[in-house]
Subunit: 273 residues, 4 copies
């Protein structure tokens, strides 16, 4: 007896890939170990007696590179993580047992795109621009979508169009657009499960300011236990014009880590309006 | 208008996680760079002026570690990969442009479990045991499931119960159970999209033989373009007694790599029989 | 005006290399990240307009692999390192500022070989054999050499002849020969600057005991500030029959690390007796 | 009988360290995997039954980072390396068997400093300045030193004073001073064993030109088998005013690698003039 999910799947799905391709040299935060991929063994290096050969890979990387999710263990405030967990004590042993990325359940749930750049009619918000609560609400209204508890909300500033340029995407001198503390509070008040953006740090970075102050991280990760997804590719989703969809996001189950690269998908039945 | 997929998702899903937790020290093939996770920065190492701190990770690893998928670029036979792609020429530049893991589309499709150990009434098949075509057919028949073109077929030998033991799971001296060339041909004849197992190399390894000969890899990856998933955790799926389900598997989009760690999920609507 | 050192150098030197070659797959302690070397770029991958190309490397490794030196920061006892430095506090920031390997001065000083296996007339001491103070004194006497303050003393058990065998060198089930607490105290009483051996952990390991208890490390590193050199290749030195020589050892200047791979040299003027 | 070398050593040595400290974040060429050091285990993470604990390290790095030496396998020209070795064929297997860094003998030989910046009376030569043969000869003459066959010649442009600044040292937009093809030919004609500089690529880099053309690498490595040492710290040597000295340089013995981090030392008897 084919179940209801298999029936929908069997009728055909449209999938929009929200993850950046992982490539050596892609833009990333200088705070995290660089992503490097190399082939220790290539075809032809060692051929087995039956004529076969196997090539393989070595990767060295941080977890907050490419499109990735922040575990609650990533940020602490005045010595505590979400739920009052002692931040220093929790890291003894070299693993965050309590709030590591292994504690994030795979997500198959409603996703909502808030295309702020689309609403504002700009290719991208300017570096350092703070996306306000008014922006979020006007965008939702214009799209005719309502943010609900449990949603994964993805905020498009358009800045992701700079990813291929490299350093400008990181946005040191220019700053990066994004929500600030107020926007984060708004998301928390709506009870979202996770929030993402098409930028390297999710929230607004002041021009020249780097990652010195990250109030939205504090509000979401530390005060409300809301996961943050960064460096999303939201260009295709905006082009598709999807406001709501099923969001599938499966972090690697790395015991005790503070984050994981992810490749989230936005999914709809074929022909859904 | 909520689409049909969102409606099913909204009604509640049951999810069985088929991925192994990634931990330093877990069993893996000695042919691949060891998985190591470490925290370059822990909470307390550097506290920002606002009282916040961020911890982060460094990972060094092969891609064929933990639960993972083999890209078609992983194996060649007599100088060629799937579709006759020249194996040596394709690796020039240090990336497999044509058949790298970036070319595997995320999978949301029918999954089928063939619980061979369950059918045979053993905790696990013995090391070096070759799972035969008869075993596969009798298992499918017993479960009342039919393998169809496009399916992802997961073969449970029960060997996965040794994962926590470490070295015995790798199975050097004992060998490892699995299909051989005949079983691989049977899977290919059924037109499966991908095939997986709860062992380190998917296919049967002879006692003391290591990875010297891998005929099922040749049949599936090189001759038929069928992906292979290794080191799955199929214990929970067997306990749940699911024969068919929606399989979600999203490889990391690593440009040019020969494989990727994955965390596949088996999913069903709550209460589906 | 050529100085006295240049004159000796100019007259010709004999050099015995005491370092193991670093190769992927060499035996090492499972407590430390595996040594892996790979070529991200090979010749032919990318050729410049002038016809030149450059190949390069990526290495992932622990520092206590191959022939290496232990910094004083490597070991603590009851919360303190050498000189009473607080071990936990010192590591905050992810670097051992005070006793890291960057604090070891390059060594150009008298080296002494104590060839215990040679004295005992065995190819190698047995696994788990504790080299006693009597062994050390009888060996020195037989060789006609006196250990002096400031020396680097190298103790040959002969176990290094197993290096090429791999796992047996690590010596899990068999144990490994070496000095125990008494031998370490003897070395400390002689005021040596550093002590080394041809084994993976310098000191005796009990059969099946692994690295559970390392009293010689405590005596040397924590109580006396004496550096430890491990996994030396002392076979050539024994064959050369040198009892004293100039020992040159230059650790990598890795800020805050607990150890460094090294390639120590024993050097003599040509024709010295 | 204490040998002549031990006598000189015993009388006291002065040592000038020519190696840069290896630190995460130090300036390096973007062509090579970044140097990262982290502590997987810190004191307090795991305490043994006897009250001891051991901290350890993980390092991920290229080999052409910090002060380092180029093996002859690093560069090829029109398909060949030094001695006509086929560059592509030699890399099959993922190791340069013939000209890898393991083939560089440890160096204990005459070193000569040519302090070009000192001669020119500048803090540092300008970015993109080509150090000419006239500069080299005038510098040697002014210092009263003669370059001889077998020497290791170290050329000081003064650019090393920018190392602590980070990006300016790499010199992308500004270019970097150094010898060009003519200077390399001059070194080769003098039969030097190795040549080094206080810059990231040894030779002159044109402003904005990056590493597109490296004629001195071709002349030295490919045509004459002369090793190149990069990113030396020559400030202390210039301050000491040493023109000749004993140079000790011991590469890590990494089988098949194209380079190695090194920590070269300039050494003199105490009180030598």
């Amino acid at each position: 007896m084919t179940d209801a999910l298999l029936q929908v799947v069997g009728s055909g799905l449209e999938v929009v890939d929200l993850g950046r391709q992982l490539r050596t040299g892609m833009p990333q935060s200088p705070n995290h170990p660089q992503f490097w991929h190399t082939l220790p063994r290539r075809h032809g290096d060692m051929v087995r007696s039956d004529g076969s050969s196997a090539a393989n890979d070595m990767i060295s990387t941080g977890t907050h590179v490419g499109t990735h999710i922040d575990a609650l263990a990533h940020v602490s405030y005045q010595g505590s993580m979400y739920g009052g967990v002692d931040a220093v004590a929790s890291g003894v042993g070299g693993k965050y047992d309590e709030l590591g990325v292994h504690t994030i359940e795979p997500m198959i749930r409603r996703g909502v795109l808030l295309d702020v750049a689309g609403h504002l009619g700009v290719e991208h918000c300017e570096g350092g621009y703070e996306i306000t609560v008014d922006d979020l609400e006007a965008t939702a209204k214009r799209q005719g979508v309502v943010v609900e508890a449990g949603d994964v909300v993805l905020i498009r500033s358009g800045w992701g169009s700079k990813f291929a340029e490299g350093a400008p995407y990181v946005g040191g001198p220019s700053g990066v657009p994004g929500v600030g503390e107020d926007g984060a509070v708004w998301l928390a008040e709506h009870g979202v499960h996770a929030a993402g953006a098409d930028t390297i740090a999710f929230e607004r970075l002041a021009p020249g300011g780097g990652h010195a102050l990250l109030p939205a991280h504090r509000v979401l990760l530390v005060e409300h236990g809301i996961y943050i997804i960064e460096a999303l590719d939201l260009e295709g989703l905006a082009q598709a014009g999807w406001s709501e969809f099923t969001l599938m996001l499966v972090p690697l189950n790395i015991y005790g880590a503070t984050g994981s690269p992810v490749r989230p998908l936005a999914v709809r039945p074929k022909g859904a309006a």
